[in-house]
């Protein structure tokens, strides 16, 4: 199979009520690739991920996933394959297990506890009480549940918005390692927003640096 891009952004621009946030952003993501997105606060990094996930439609430009415009995909199907872990990783009311299988459940899929255990081990969150209240987890634990929850969907593209901001370096490295191994296992591509320069350098193959348009103009 020729290595067709898994995700293509072409001249994506975004404005909120006349306020320009993104201008002509283009990027190409391939399988097994980790692409970093950096830039100052408020420059539109989260907005860009939302556009890729089709939670927002850009004011102009296009996003193609597997060579098909995202607008031609069924939104739920697209978001199962292009999963986003939002910046504020929220837990659904209920247990840790309920949170982990939440994504699978909405797509009518199930899983065994063994698989949950395996994925939790990979994000360095095992052992944990699967029947415990997810709301009682620490910020860093919640982030890892959110990542595990996304990985269980076996996405083609994983969109991570500052996924390790609440983790210590060791846990962050472990999460990176997990994602790296999944990259080759699943023919996955990763777009990761990070503030952490070191993380961008060691973890990503390319970095897109966004600038703050409102300040520039």
């Amino acid at each position: 199979m020729p290595d067709a891009p898994i995700l293509e952004l072409e001249k994506v621009s975004m404005a909120f009520e006349g306020k320009q946030v993104l201008r002509n952003v283009s990027l190409i993501l391939h399988h097994n690739e980790t692409y970093g997105i950096t830039g100052p606060s408020g420059c539109g990094k989260s907005t860009l991920l939302r556009i890729v996930n089709d939670l927002l439609s850009p004011t102009s430009g296009s996003v193609r996933f597997q060579e098909k415009d995202v607008r031609e995909w069924n939104p739920q199907e697209l978001r199962r394959r292009v999963v986003m872990v939002p910046q504020e990783a929220k837990m659904f009311p209920g247990t840790v297990r309920a949170n982990l299988v939440w994504g699978l459940k909405v797509h009518g899929m199930t899983t065994e506890d063994e698989q949950l255990k395996a994925i939790l081990r990979e994000v360095q969150l095992w052992p944990i009480d699967l029947d415990g209240n997810a709301e009682n987890l620490s910020g860093g634990q919640k982030q890892r549940v959110a990542i595990a929850r996304a990985l269980l969907l076996k996405p083609n593209v994983l969109l991570l918005d500052e996924p390790t901001s609440a983790l210590d370096t060791d846990s962050a490295l472990a999460v990176e390692k997990t994602i790296n191994s999944l990259l080759s296992d699943h023919q996955m591509g990763v777009l990761i927003v990070t503030h952490n320069k070191e993380q961008a350098e060691r973890f990503t193959s390319r970095v897109l640096e966004l600038e703050n348009l409102s300040e520039a103009s």
């Binding site: 996930n53 089709d54 939670l55 939104p75 978001r79 504020e88 959110a146």
Partner: protein, 272 residues
Amino acid sequence: MQLDLFALFQIPEQYTVMLQRYAAAMILLAVLIIVTKWQGIGIGHKLIVGTIRGTIQIILMALILVYIFALSDLIVIFGVLTFMGVFAGHTTRSNLERIPGVMRATLPGILVGALSVMAVVVVLEIIDWRSGPGEFIIPMGGMLIGNCMGLTSLVIDRMWSNAQKQRPLLETALALGATPKQATELTIRESIRSGLLPNLNRYASLGIVSIPGLMSGMIIGGVNPLEAAIYQVIIFIMIFLSAMIAALITSRLFLREMFNERAQLTVPPPEP
């Protein structure tokens, strides 16, 4: 009563007493408004407008009620109920004016919820309405419509404010590929539950704490107390059923106002 020429130029005594009572109630209203102001609840002007409008409406209604109760044509009676339902839908819109598309969601819910239950009651003759169709069907229908109105506007208010306040949670759900319905399921369930709570309380304390007006009226009107009591239980079940139907329809329809066809949230962030 004797004929007294002077009486024509005076306000009859029964009305002066009534106006005094109304004035006394206005003092209570003033206290209420002061309390809401003080507590920052911010419904003061709604209370004032509601009082003026409500007084006029109910006086007009009292005057025509005699005729409405005398109605015997089922089609006309259901026409009156439909009018009441439309008015209820309009009311939900004006009480939730910051939210767009309210009436598009509540009106079908209220009409289907209240009228379908009322139609079943009439067709199956669950209540003995034949002795006075207007007298039975209109007040009962009104009760159902009122409860549907209350629950649907609560559901919408909750759905909207949750979408504003718990945006990240909603976004988390959508980003995992949840449909708008799946993403809001919990909110809808909780708002229906809490919206039914006052009535569940009334239901549980029925006859001991809450002595419903309809039952009292029937007993005063000479209906067998046992029959009046049974009616009251039936009415509660009708209320729950119709309010539930209305809430489910309204919540489903309101999803279309909150999300677009790409399942993107269109609710704006809360005003600062």
